[in-house]
C-alpha cells in the first residue's frame, strides 16, 4: 500500500468520515474505507440507500474532508491540501456527473462545457471554445451547442454533463447515479458514452448506481453497506468479453 499512491489514480487508506464531531449526536458514516483505482478502471459503487455512497463520493471528490485516513488523487496527498489547493486539484483532476445533470440553466450547452476551463483559466479564449465544441461533438450534441441548458431534453443534458466532466481531461470521473433519472434507452446511451470515453481516453470512472443491470456492465463492482466495503470484485463477465 505504501508505494501504491503514486501509481494509482485514486487511493484511499482507512478513510473515516463522521458528522457532528464533538457533539452527542456524532455519527460515523464511513468506517475505514480502503480503496484503490488504477488508471483506466471502470468501477461501479453499489449499495443500499444510506450506506454512505454519496458521502464517499464527496470525500473522494474533495467536496468533503475525511475525518481521518489518507486520500491520494492522481498521486497527490489530497487529505493534506488546504481549501484553495483542494479546489484547484478538484478542478484539474476530477470530473463530476450528477444524477440531476446540474447544468447551469442560464448558460448554453457550449458554455456549460467551457465553464470548468473558464474557472481555471480566468477568461475565455478560442482554444477552450474549440475543446468544448469537440467534446459536444463527441457526445453527439453539435446541433444543440447554442441551446440553453434548460431547453434541451434530460438525456441531452446528461450528455452535456459528461462533456463538461471531461473538459479538463481529468484523471478521474465521479458519477453519482448518472442514469438514475433517465429512461432505459437514454440510460444505456449515457452508459455507453462513458464506457467509450473510458476505453478511448483511459479515464478512470467511479460510478454510483442503484441499477444492477448497469453495475453488471462495469469492470469492477464495489459494494458498500453501512459505511464498510463488504465486497470488491472483478466482474469477470465484462473483463472476459472486453
Amino acid at each position: 500500500m505504501a508505494d501504491a499512491p503514486a501509481a494509482a489514480t485514486l487511493c484511499l487508506a482507512g478513510v473515516r468520515k463522521s458528522y457532528g464531531t464533538g457533539t452527542p449526536i456524532e455519527t460515523e458514516v464511513l468506517h475505514g474505507i480502503d480503496l484503490t483505482l488504477v488508471r483506466g478502471e471502470f468501477a461501479a459503487l453499489i449499495g443500499p440507500s444510506g450506506s454512505g455512497k454519496t458521502t464517499l463520493l464527496n470525500v473522494i471528490g474533495l467536496l468533503d474532508k475525511p475525518s481521518s485516513g489518507q486520500l491520494f488523487i492522481a498521486g497527490q496527498d489530497a487529505g493534506a491540501l488546504d481549501e484553495m489547493a483542494a479546489t484547484a486539484l478538484r478542478g484539474r483532476a476530477i470530473g463530476f456527473i450528477f444524477q440531476y445533470h446540474y447544468l447551469l440553466p442560464a448558460f448554453t450547452a457550449l458554455e456549460n462545457v467551457m465553464m470548468p476551463m473558464l474557472a481555471a483559466r480566468g477568461r475565455t479564449d478560442d482554444a477552450m471554445r474549440e475543446t468544448a465544441r469537440n467534446l459536444l461533438e463527441r457526445v453527439g450534441l453539435t446541433p444543440w451547442c447554442d441551446h440553453k441548458a434548460s431547453a434541451i431534453s434530460g438525456g441531452q443534458q446528461q450528455r452535456v454533463a459528461i462533456a463538461r466532466a471531461l473538459a479538463m481531461s481529468p484523471a478521474l470521473v465521479l458519477a453519482d447515479e448518472p442514469s438514475g433519472n433517465l429512461d432505459t434507452e437514454n440510460a444505456d446511451a449515457v452508459f455507453d458514452l462513458m464506457r467509450d470515453v473510458n476505453v478511448t481516453s483511459g479515464t478512470t470512472f467511479l460510478i454510483v448506481t442503484h441499477d444492477p443491470r448497469l453495475a453488471q456492465r462495469c469492470d469492477r463492482i464495489v459494494e458498500l453497506i453501512d459505511g464498510c466495503i463488504v465486497s470488491d470484485r472483478v466482474n469477470h463477465d465484462v473483463v472476459r468479453r472486453g
Binding site: 454519496t54 464527496n58 471528490g61 467536496l63 468533503d64 481549501e83 484553495m84 479546489t87 484547484a88 478538484r90 478542478g91 484539474r92 463530476f96 450528477f98 446540474y102 447544468l103 447551469l104 440553466p105 442560464a106 448558460f107 465553464m115 470548468p116 473558464l118 474557472a119 481555471a120 483559466r121 480566468g122 477568461r123 475565455t124 463538461r164 479538463m168
Partner: protein
C-alpha cells in the same frame, strides 16, 4: 482585453440576467435613491450659491472699520474698585486711522483680490417736496468696482461718478421721480448739502438696497460727512467668500481695527446653511443605507436561489475568491447602473425645475448649475455602496459547502 470575457463577469451578468425582474427592480430602486441625492444636492448647492451671490452683490466679504470708542469706568485710585458706572458712549463717524497704510498691507494678504476705501454715512435725498433717508457711500471708482460689481447692476446711465454726480437705486428713483440727468439735493445731519446730478440708476435685486443706497465720489462723501481725507471703512474682496472669516482674523491680528466678515454679519444665514447641509447629509446617509440594504437583500435572496449553481461551480473547480467576486461584481454593477439611471432622472428633474421654479417676472427663482462632478461622485459612491452591500451575501456564497449546496 475585454473585461466581459472574465469568468467572474460572465457568471455575474448571466446571474443578473437570469433574475432580470429582481435586477431591474433593484436598479430602479438605486436609481430613485441616487436621483434624489443628486437632485437635492444640486438644489441645495444652487440655493446656497444664490444666497451667497445675492448677499455679496452689495456687501463686501470683509469690512474694516475704526475701533469702537469705549467709555472707561471710573475707578478708585487706591483700591481699584469701580466707583461709577459709565453709560456706553455713542459712536461718531470716524476715519480708519492711516487707512492708506492699512489698505496697502491688506492688499498683500494672499487670497485678497480687491481693497477699496469708502466713506459711508446717513443723509437725506431731496427733490422737490420728496425727502428720503439714504445711506451715502463715497467710492473710489478705480478700486471700488474690483470689490462690488456695481457697473453690472447699472440699468440706466453710467457708473463713473465725478464730484458732482450721484448714482441711485431704482426704488429711490421711483420715489423721488428722478431719471438720469435730473438733479437732487443730498443733505447730511451736519447740515452740509450738495446738489448732485443723477448719472446712473442701479438695481441690486434687493428692495432695501435699491431704496437706501446712493453712491457718490469719495471726495464728495468726505465733504458731506465732514471726514476730509478720511475713509470710514475699507472694503475687501477675497477669492473664496467662505475663507472671509479666516482672512478677517489675519487682519484683526495685525491691527487694532474692527474687522467684520460677511460670515459674522450674516451669522443667521450661515447657521441656517449649516442646518441645511446637516439635513442633506443625513438624508444622503439614510438614502444610501436604504440603497445598500436593497442591494444586499436582493443578493442574499440570489445566493439562496443560486445555491445549487454555486455548488456546481465550486465542484467544477471554481475558487471561493472567484465566487466572492461574482457577487461583488453584481453589487457594483447594480450600484453603478442604478446611479447612471438616477443621474438621468435627476438631470431631467433639474431641467424641469428650471422650467417651473420661476419668479413672477419669468426670471429663474435661482440658478441651478448642473455640475458634472456631482454625477461622477454619485456614480462612484453608488458603485462603492453596491460593493459594500454585496460583501455579506458574497461571503455567504463563497462559504457555501458545495456538497450541501448540490444536494440542495
Amino acid at each position: 482585453m475585454n473585461p466581459l470575457a472574465w469568468f467572474e463577469a460572465i457568471v455575474a451578468f448571466r446571474f443578473m440576467r437570469e433574475g432580470l425582474t429582481q435586477t431591474l427592480l433593484i436598479v430602479f430602486g438605486v436609481a430613485l435613491g441616487a436621483g434624489v441625492i443628486i437632485f437635492m444636492s444640486a438644489l441645495l448647492a444652487g440655493m446656497q450659491a444664490n444666497i451667497v451671490r445675492r448677499t455679496l452683490n452689495f456687501q463686501a466679504p470683509i469690512e474694516i472699520l475704526a475701533p469702537e470708542q469705549v467709555a472707561r469706568p471710573l475707578r478708585d485710585g487706591r483700591s481699584g474698585s469701580v466707583t461709577a458706572q459709565v453709560q456706553p458712549r455713542s459712536q461718531q463717524l470716524r476715519s480708519v486711522d492711516q487707512w492708506q497704510k492699512v489698505r496697502g498691507a491688506v492688499a498683500k494678504i494672499p487670497g485678497v483680490v480687491g481693497v477699496t476705501p469708502i466713506v459711508a454715512g446717513p443723509g437725506f435725498a431731496q427733490r422737490g417736496d420728496a425727502t428720503k433717508s439714504v445711506t451715502i457711500t463715497g467710492i473710489e471708482i478705480e478700486s471700488y468696482f474690483d470689490v462690488i460689481a456695481l457697473p453690472d447692476k447699472i440699468v440706466t446711465g453710467r457708473e463713473d461718478v465725478g464730484p458732482l454726480d450721484i448714482i441711485i437705486g431704482t426704488e429711490l428713483a421711483k420715489d423721488l421721480g428722478t431719471t438720469v440727468g435730473d438733479k437732487l439735493s443730498l443733505t447730511t445731519a451736519r447740515g452740509i448739502a450738495s446738489t448732485l446730478t443723477v448719472i446712473g440708476i442701479f438695481d441690486f435685486g434687493n428692495k432695501g438696497v435699491n431704496e437706501r443706497n446712493v453712491y457718490v465720489s469719495l471726495r464728495t462723501a468726505q465733504n458731506l460727512l465732514d471726514l476730509t481725507g478720511g475713509a470710514s471703512a475699507i472694503e475687501v474682496k477675497v477669492q473664496d467668500p467662505f475663507a472671509a472669516e479666516t482672512i478677517a482674523q489675519i487682519i484683526r491680528g495685525g491691527t487694532d481695527l474692527e474687522v467684520d466678515s460677511w460670515i459674522r454679519t450674516n451669522a443667521q444665514f450661515f447657521s441656517a446653511m449649516a442646518a441645511q447641509i446637516l439635513a442633506n447629509t443625513l438624508i444622503r446617509i439614510f438614502v444610501g443605507l436604504t440603497v445598500a440594504l436593497g442591494i444586499a437583500s436582493v443578493l442574499v435572496v440570489s445566493v439562496v436561489q443560486k445555491g445549487k449553481e454555486i455548488g456546481i461551480l465550486r465542484a467544477m473547480g471554481t475558487a471561493r475568491a472567484q465566487v466572492l467576486r461574482v457577487f461583488l461584481i453584481q453589487g457594483a454593477f447594480m450600484g453603478l447602473i442604478g446611479a447612471l439611471a438616477g443621474s438621468l432622472l435627476a438631470w431631467g428633474f433639474l431641467l424641469l425645475w428650471r422650467g417651473v421654479a420661476k419668479n413672477p417676472d419669468g426670471t429663474p427663482l435661482f440658478i441651478v448649475v448642473i455640475e458634472p462632478s456631482l454625477f461622477a461622485i454619485a456614480c462612484a459612491g453608488a458603485t462603492l455602496v453596491g460593493i459594500l452591500a454585496a460583501a455579506i451575501p458574497a461571503r455567504r456564497a463563497a462559504r457555501l459547502d458545495p456538497a450541501v449546496a448540490i444536494r440542495g
